[in-house]
């Protein structure tokens, strides 16, 4: 994998079902750890944004713009929040992901490079290049 990316990385925290198995003390502990982690990354200039998402929402799909309820509360795959990281390479982003306090409880962290431009735009440029070749 190309390891340099000046547009930063996004961490997507997946899994919303792990919370219900924790005691009140454990939850408080993970919450404190998570907040301290985000504060540290922000102070170090490595995190530039981050938000938790509510355990609810809707899915809009298809030509007819159908609105449906998504399973957000109890899903293993559902996204519970994100961090936007300002680090220059993939290994740094993965190293930060590995510090996530939710990992021991089953949270999965998706690490994705942010694109310089919309991938549809790069696709279009490639097509134009072929057409001109």
């Amino acid at each position: 994998m190309n390891t340099q990316n000046q547009n930063g990385y996004m961490l997507l925290f997946r899994g919303n079902d792990w919370l219900k198995n924790l005691s009140s003390e454990e939850k408080q502990k993970v919450t404190d750890q998570w907040m301290a982690w985000f504060r540290r990354l922000t102070n170090e200039g490595k995190a530039i944004a981050g938000n938790p998402l509510e355990r609810e929402g809707k899915i809009v799909s298809g030509k007819n713009r159908v609105v449906s309820d998504g399973p957000f509360a109890e899903s293993k795959e559902a996204i519970g929040g994100y961090f936007l990281l300002d680090v220059a390479n993939f290994d740094d982003a993965v190293a930060i992901a590995r510090e996530c306090p939710g990992l021991p409880y089953g949270v999965q962290v998706e690490v994705r490079p942010v694109a310089a431009e919309c991938p549809v735009a790069s696709e279009l440029k490639q097509k134009a290049q072929f057409a001109n070749a």
Binding site: T31, L53, E54, V60, R98, C100, L103, E110, P113
Partner: protein, 128 residues
């Protein structure tokens, strides 16, 4: 927050279709931004990894290109109601070609905190 979920459906479009869609998309985002309803969104590369397990000991390269569920990008909206966020999602030009948009309220505070308070309250009630 709008999360765009789709596979690489845009590979199936002709050059002209793609160009048309991109112009529509650009105009759509510009109009939302001008109205103060959208903050800058980002697209994500179709590659990456999933970190899981204690101390993040599993690092798996994720297949993000083919999955219809994969997240291709996001847009943070500055609107007051879920209904308005949904109607903005419905006006997204890309939906005509496939994929879906997940509309999620950004939490005021971490749901962990909220849940912790609930549990503390339950425990308090139990001891009364």
């Amino acid at each position: 927050m709008l999360l765009y979920r789709s596979d690489e459906w845009y590979n199936k479009l002709s050059h002209a279709e793609l160009q048309k869609l991109m112009n529509q998309n650009k105009a759509w985002i510009e109009s939302l931004t001008a109205q103060g309803k959208a903050k800058p969104g980002r697209a994500l590369e179709r590659r990456g990894a999933i970190v899981s397990g204690n101390n993040g000991r599993f690092v798996i390269d994720g297949p993000f290109a083919e999955s219809k569920e994969a997240i291709g990008g996001y847009l943070v909206l500055d609107v007051e109601t879920m209904d308005e966020a949904i109607s903005i999602a419905q006006s997204s030009p890309g939906l005509s070609y496939g994929g879906s948009i997940e509309v999620r309220p950004v939490a005021d505070e971490c749901p962990l905190d909220v849940r912790e308070r609930e549990l503390a309250r339950e425990e308090q009630l139990a001891t009364v």
